[in-house]
């Protein structure tokens, strides 16, 4: 830990040598450890310019965390603007709160609103997987509470290194246990996510966390401190020495073996404190006892005070010695930077103080009154009455540096795109005989990325709350919001780092298209997007180009699909040494179901139902799971057709609403082969499949039909009585649909013409054995 206050002229206050504002003005030439705190020379100069003097130690601590990449989005801001600019009236109509608040809020109708957000907790999860992943859940859940919502579910997209690398087991066991240990203790069902293994994530795993919450419209709360004389209170856990500088030192730099361990920068979570905090906040909201509220996450009190103050009337006075501490030796700078978990800051009118304290006492939550809202436009922080921070809060929270980082299409992009899988060395001996194809399908569904994720998901509680209508391994997680009407929401997250590596613009669009398709497959109408943009160092022009292209692609695609980005997070510097991860924009789409009883599960059940393949198949194997299994990455990702995705979505939604389909499963990684096996294994019900009509129509061979990852496709199970109506609907919409087989409940097999019969027992064995084999 950096000793901020040890280098300055001593002013004896309490037990520290405190660097006061008065002192700072008198000692302009004092050396400050701005570089150790992650600031660049030009940024430090800017701080001095903004203040008109050198910052105090405490001010330096605040600026260093708030101007970090993690908190200020300084490298991505210029590009992220597109999410706010490329917005049509159609996209705005249900948006109650947009980007910029803790999380966006979308109107669900009937007076209900929903808020959701996805965030990264990558770096801490590599340093200390259990606590990193656990506090990732904690942080995103507090973002949701801060909006006034009751959290109702979580999801976790995970990306780890190679499955057989010795360090992967460390990260896997720690992160999964952390997500379970923390999430299961909050009473929030974990309803989905992703698990991808790829060596590009070896030294930099991606642990993203999504939370969704619901509220009545009148309960929406914003993070602002308004009303002169209103009191500022900090409540929840005490402030400790954990996570100091987490945002600046840890999340905004690349790992380097030569530096000391960063473990002290990782926060330690207490799920019980969080659970109590959730209930306590909901009781505060119910009684309308808070005017503004903000969770303490990255940058701790620095962030909460400066954001609350700058979003409100613009002034606040806070006495820092009033903060309840776990460790009495913390310096003011450390208190300001600490990222101790399970804390909230609120603004309360004087009349509500007694009622507020009664709620705290009921839940045995500690609190301390720190100060009050002013109209001075200044954020003043004192230490025993002596001023140690005197800043315009906007300069801390909003007016950080913005960089137009240089970017350029990498010199190697063309050669990567020219290197197609088809005809490559790795493409020799492509399976074609029935026995070879059966072996290939089995190999695919047992591969690290396509195998059953039960080993992970069985460690998460998917039932708590009693509102889970769908969870993994279905395409989307579905939770009921209103028990009277059955109103509910569906959520899916997707990303494909390989596609995005091959073509960042279209790769990001493919992630959105897949999440959109997954939500529609469950029968829900897609409404909003949250994204977690995981990339390498923005100081690398290649990476910066990937980021710029991905944001441009995503924002363009949102326009076409008509759904807005309501929030999200950017995680940069995800690399080991100078090797960045695959660009990995993880896209979450939220949809709405008027009645969750209508949701469509992914598995077949009813004997004799017709199975249809929607969409057309082209020879698109570049970047596919098959190519990945053969060790090839090159060429161009599958073609994006957003108009077709929208059409397919409408078919799936209408079919669900009108009872025309009993099952639906989207085609994505692993293509038709994976979708057929998953649909069969879901309920252990097989089928007889014949693909000749598809082969004839699309001009592809059986291998391509099974393993190509062409987009805009889904497999649906149609009751016999609905077949005519379903076909008529597809025909009227001009959407390709082919009857490819029937559900066969008795056989216990998946039979595909031209492929050796595969027993479900053998497929299940292969599908479910992979993770236990590596992780026990």
């Amino acid at each position: 830990m950096t000793e901020i206050n040890s280098v300055v002229e001593p002013v004896e206050t309490k037990k520290f040598n405190i660097d006061t504002v008065e002192n700072a003005a008198k000692t302009p030439d004092t050396e400050l450890p701005w570089a150790e705190l992650g600031l660049k020379q030009n940024e430090f100069d800017e701080v001095v310019k903004v203040l008109g003097r050198r910052p105090t130690g405490a001010e330096l601590a605040m600026y260093s965390v708030m101007w970090s990449e993690h908190c200020s989005y300084k490298s991505s801001k210029n590009h992220l603007r597109q999410f706010g600019e490329k917005v049509t009236d159609e996209m705005k109509k249900d948006m109650l709160v947009g980007i910029g608040e803790n999380a966006g809020v979308t109107n669900l109708g009937d007076g209900w609103a929903v808020t959701f957000k996805i965030e990264s907790h990558n770096s801490p999860s590599f340093v200390e997987p259990y606590q990193g992943a656990a506090t990732g859940i904690g942080g995103i859940v507090r973002d949701i509470i801060s909006m006034g919502a009751r959290p109702v579910a979580v999801m976790d997209p995970l990306r780890f290194g190679a499955i057989d690398h010795p360090d992967t087991a460390r990260v896997m066991h720690g992160a999964v246990a952390g997500i379970g240990g923390y999430g299961n203790s909050l009473g929030l069902p974990n309803i989905g996510g992703e698990m991808v293994f790829d060596s590009v994530y070896q030294g930099n795993p991606l642990v993203n966390a999504l939370a969704v919450g619901v509220m009545r419209h009148e309960d929406i709360r914003l993070a602002n401190a308004s009303g002169k004389g209103n009191k500022v209170v900090l409540f929840g856990a005490r402030t400790g020495g954990d996570g100091i500088g987490g945002a600046s030192v840890l999340a905004s730099e690349s790992f380097d073996d030569t530096k000391p361990s960063k473990r002290p920068a990782v926060q330690v979570g207490d799920p019980f404190a969080e659970k109590v905090l959730i209930e306590c906040c909901l009781e505060l909201f119910k009684g309308s006892l808070v005017e503004g509220i903000q969770d303490l996450g990255a940058a701790g009190i620095s962030c909460a005070t400066s954001e609350l103050a700058s979003n409100g009337d613009g002034g606040m006075e806070v006495e820092l010695t009033s903060v309840l501490l776990r460790d009495p030796t913390l310096t003011p700078g450390e208190i300001l930077m600490s990222e101790s978990q399970e804390r909230m800051m609120a603004v309360v009118t004087p009349e509500n103080i007694a009622a507020f304290e009664a709620v705290m006492d009921k839940w045995a939550v500690e609190y301390s009154w720190l100060g009050e809202v002013t109209d001075t436009g200044r954020l003043i922080i004192t230490w025993d009455g002596v001023v140690i921070v005197d800043v315009d809060p906007r300069t801390v929270a909003h007016d950080g540096p913005v960089y137009d980082r240089p970017y350029a299409r990498p010199s190697w992009q063309d050669s990567v795109q020219a290197d197609s899988f088809t005809g490559s060395v790795q493409d020799t001996g492509r399976p074609s005989a029935p026995a070879e194809l059966a072996a290939a399908v089995t190999e695919l569904v047992a591969s690290p990325n396509m195998c059953s994720k039960d080993w992970i998901t069985n460690q998460y509680d998917r039932y708590v709350g009693g509102n889970t209508a769908l969870a993994f391994p279905d395409d989307a997680g579905v939770v009921r919001v209103d028990e009277e009407t059955g109103l509910g929401v569906a959520l899916a997250t997707d990303a494909n780092g390989r596609y995005t590596f091959l073509d960042p613009y279209h790769g990001a669009q493919l992630a959105l298209a897949e999440a959109y398709r997954n939500v529609a497959t469950s029968g829900a109408v897609p409404m909003a997007v949250s994204d977690c943009l995981n990339f390498g160092s923005p100081e690398d022009p290649d990476v910066m180009w990937q980021l710029a292209e991905a944001i441009r692609g995503l924002s363009d695609a949102c326009m076409v699909l008509g759904i807005p980005v309501t929030g999200g997070n950017v995680s940069l510097y995800n690399q080991t040494g100078t090797t960045p991860i695959h660009p990995s924009p993880v896209v979450a789409v939220l949809g709405k179901l008027d009645d969750v009883a209508r949701r469509t599960p992914s598995g077949w059940r009813e004997d004799g139902q017709a199975i249809y393949l929607l969409g057309t198949t082209a020879a698109e194997l570049d970047g596919s799971e098959w190519a990945n299994m053969r060790g090839h990455l090159g060429g161009l990702p599958p073609k994006v057709d957003l108009a077709a995705e929208r059409e397919l979505g409408e078919i799936l939604i209408n079919a669900s609403r009108d009872g025309m389909v009993d099952s639906a499963h989207d085609l994505s990684e692993g293509g038709l082969a994976a979708a057929l096996v998953e649909s069969a294994l879901r309920y252990g019900v097989g089928a007889r499949i014949a693909l000749q009509d598809v082969l004839d129509r699309d001009g592809v061979d059986l291998f391509t039909a099974l393993f190509s990852e062409s987009q805009g496709r889904a497999v649906v199970g149609v009751p016999r009585s609905e077949e005519v109506r379903f076909k008529d609907m597809c025909t009227a919409r001009g959407f390709a649909h082919t009857r490819i087989g029937v559900v066969d409940a008795a056989s216990g097999n998946l039979e595909i013409n031209g492929v050796d019969t595969m027993s479900l027992a053998a497929l299940r064995e292969a599908h479910e054995a992979t993770l236990p084999k590596y992780f026990g």
């Binding site: 246990a177 379970g180 240990g181 299961n184 203790s185 909050l186 009473g187 207490d270 799920p271 019980f272 404190a273 659970k275 109590v276 209930e279 839940w363 045995a364 998901t457 069985n458 460690q459 998460y460 509680d461 998917r462 039932y463 708590v464 709350g465 009693g466 509102n467 889970t468 209508a469 769908l470 969870a471 009921r480 028990e483 969750v596 009883a597 599960p601 598995g603 059940r605 879901r682 309920y683 252990g684």
Partner: protein, 261 residues
């Protein structure tokens, strides 16, 4: 099984039918400790079975006029010590212990953390330790109802197999051999895991009762198998029913209103 209306209709019928009105008058307390997670679910199960759920707070010093009590799952006070070890000392628990042991024999159901609290309170023998595989486990679990004479199992048949969700990390039931033999001999093993023992519990024991049969504890969660579309069948499709757990709640309600066996 019960002849009472189940899902959905329960509330509608409760409004007019005389018998149903009586049932809705049965008050089942649902205890919330700080850290309790499945309290809303237990309350919903009571409602769906036709009864009235009454919230009870750990710091309450009276049980009010409840006819039975459910201690739901979760992590009471965080369970950073042994699961249930602190909850045992809650003011409300002493009232529950007294009422369970009184002549009135208040029916008490402990689910998951509730079961752990009941053993810590010595209302039930034995204890729960960490699952033998050391991981949290969430799965749809088949149970055999071994004793259909307890307050909470009257609506089942002895030997009936039911599917309810299981989700815990400290679910391995242990007791010394003498206690286990006595439990078996006295018919106090109420539920046994079938097909797969998910946590290493001695003799596949999933749930037990006290000698009088009014206090029952089990690790699996019947309150998560009470509603079509949100139970084990919908989520895992293993061929069970979404509503196998409802019998716990109809059993006790029928017993309270005197309408059963």
């Amino acid at each position: 099984m019960t002849e009472l209306p189940l899902i959905g209709e329960a509330i509608a019928v409760a409004a007019d039918a005389p018998g149903a009105r009586r049932l809705a008058g049965a008050r089942i307390g649902v205890v919330t400790f700080p850290g309790t997670l499945d309290d809303r679910d237990a309350a919903r199960a009571v409602r769906l079975a036709g009864g009235t759920a009454v919230p009870l707070w750990h710091a309450d010093t009276t049980l009010g006029d409840v006819d039975a009590v459910v201690i739901p799952g979760g992590f009471s006070y965080g369970d950073y010590l042994r699961a249930g070890a602190i909850a045992r000392f809650a003011p409300l628990m002493s009232k529950i212990i007294d009422a369970a042991n009184s002549d009135a024999k208040l029916p008490v159901l402990g689910i998951c953390n509730g079961f752990q609290i009941l053993t810590e309170s010595h209302l039930l023998p034995g204890s729960m330790i960490k699952n033998d595989h050391l991981k949290f486990m969430c799965r749809d679990q088949v149970l055999r109802v071994e004793n259909s004479n307890t307050a909470w199992t009257l609506d089942y048949e002895a030997g009936q197999e039911i599917t309810v969700p299981l989700k815990n990390q400290d679910g391995q039931y242990i007791a010394d051999e003498k206690v286990l033999d006595a439990l078996e001999a006295e018919g106090r093993v109420v539920f046994r895991y079938v097909g797969f023992n998910p946590n290493g519990s001695r003799r596949d024991i999933a749930g037990i009762s006290n000698a009088a049969g009014n206090v029952v504890g089990l690790m699996p969660h019947p309150e998560h198998a009470v509603e079509v579309g949100f139970g084990p069948e919908s989520l895992d499709g293993i061929g069970g029913s979404d509503t196998d757990g409802l019998g716990f709640f109809t059993s006790v309600l029928n017993k309270i209103v005197g309408g059963n066996k």
